[in-house]
């Protein structure tokens, strides 16, 4: 074995990787080769220094700062959920009041139409006059004042240009997981749509339309956590959007065989039942 090859063996020796036969071969070579023996000792000194390099360094409390930031983000997310919930609730109400949820039951295919709310209507004013939104009765256990203020803000800003999911201009761009909750153990899925500009058939991104949904609570028992029994890999292609049933302050819908709840804290169960009754009547 050459001296050059020995150098690798010396480094592997200090890495503790040599098997017994290799160790014997190395020692035999070192015995008869002063140059490699010097190399061996020099590497020994270097590896000794490297071992002594590690030091414990006192540092500022990064952990507490991170946990505090996590807490703040969680609080902000909850407020955000309320806000978006208000937006979804408002759009659901408009579906009902303007009778845009139109189901055809010719026996086989059911055509689903859902209106959506998008927030930057000022940039692309709708051709039609805005639909007047009827103010809903809010029944929110947590904070009715906040709910009312949120709705007021929506009515002040939005002109509610309505869109149906079957509208070819509306493209589902992504669905993403937005996090879990320590107590309720639910996931939320944010469906993001973009609106293709419709002027003269040109295409391009315009506004973003948000829906917020959570998995059906009936799956909660099976779900150990966010990594639980239902599989959600972040980006998925959403398939048919099928109303399934109505629950407390939520409508459950099915996407690709997974049930999600439209988060609508501002609708009472009665409101939802009325919507669901209308749907079921047409489906049956």
């Amino acid at each position: 074995m050459t001296c050059q090859e020995m150098e690798f063996m010396i480094q592997r020796h200090y890495d503790g990787e040599l098997v017994e036969a290799e160790e014997t071969m190395l020692q035999a070579h070192l015995y008869g080769c002063p140059a490699c023996d010097r190399e061996f000792r020099e590497f020994g000194a270097l590896f000794g220094d490297i071992d002594a390099l590690q030091v414990q360094v006192a540092h500022r409390d990064i952990l507490s700062q991170t946990l505090m930031r996590l807490e703040e983000a969680e609080t902000k997310r909850r407020i955000d959920v309320w806000w978006r919930g208000a937006a979804v609730a408002a759009s659901v109400l408009i579906i009902a009041s303007a009778a845009l949820l139109n189901w055809t039951d010719s026996g086989k295919a059911v055509k689903h139409r859902v209106s959506a709310f998008f927030s930057h209507s000022q940039d692309t004013p709708p051709v039609n006059e805005p639909v007047a939104a009827e103010r809903p009765n809010t029944q929110v256990e947590a904070d009715p004042a906040q709910a009312e203020a949120a709705l007021d803000e929506i009515y002040r800003q939005a002109r509610f240009p309505l869109l149906e999911l079957s509208d070819p201009r509306l493209i589902l761009t992504s669905t993403s997981l937005t996090g879990g909750d320590e107590t309720a153990m639910y996931q939320m899925v944010e469906l993001t749509y973009t609106l293709r500009a419709a002027k003269n058939g040109e295409s391009g991104d315009a506004d973003t339309v948000y829906f917020l949904a959570t998995p059906d609570n009936s799956l909660k028992e099976k779900a150990k956590s966010n990594l639980g029994s239902y599989v959600f890999n972040g980006e998925v292609q959403a398939g048919k959007f099928i109303w399934a049933k109505v629950g407390e302050h939520a409508i459950t819908a099915e996407i690709n065989g997974v049930f999600y709840q439209i988060f609508s804290p501002f609708l009472s169960t009665d409101d939802l039942l009325k919507i669901a009754a209308g749907i079921q009547k047409r489906v049956s």
Binding site: Q11, L46, A52, L53, H59, I62, L63, L177
Partner: protein
Amino acid sequence: MKEQDLVADALASRSSMAELLRMIEPYVFQTAYYLTGSKMDGEDVAQDALWKICRSLHQYKGSSSFRTWVYSVVLNTYRDAVRKKRRVTLPLEETYVDQSPSVEETVAARSRLEELRREIMKLGTEDREIFVLRHLQQLSYAEVAATMDVTEAHVRSRLYRTRQKLKNLLHGGE
């Protein structure tokens, strides 16, 4: 407890998340400290990395080891910091290691170790990352390769060359 379960628990409960972060924080800081060569920069990188770990924990799928996943987040955070720092201020390489003597270091050995630290800071980013992960975080060659998404042969080749260089600089001609 399995890594997968630790992560699952952390996603489900705030206290488990705190526990997980408490467990990995020393490794995250030490790695950031050795990579940046500065306590203050190390703290900043470590804090950013811990936050990214919190926020992207749900993306950890269990296909790689959790340990290498954490280290890869730290490396990416460090690389981002180097890029940002280069734009606005001195290169990171010019900030040397703080004076942090340990009791084991004798005066003579200390100056040699300082020299070694300086030489490590002069290494290119990739060579320094490999050195830190292998020698200061005790990762195996396979783990270093997985963390950096390169081959094990590449890691070995780079590190052998780095150690040869350091030996010649610091212990050559003894």
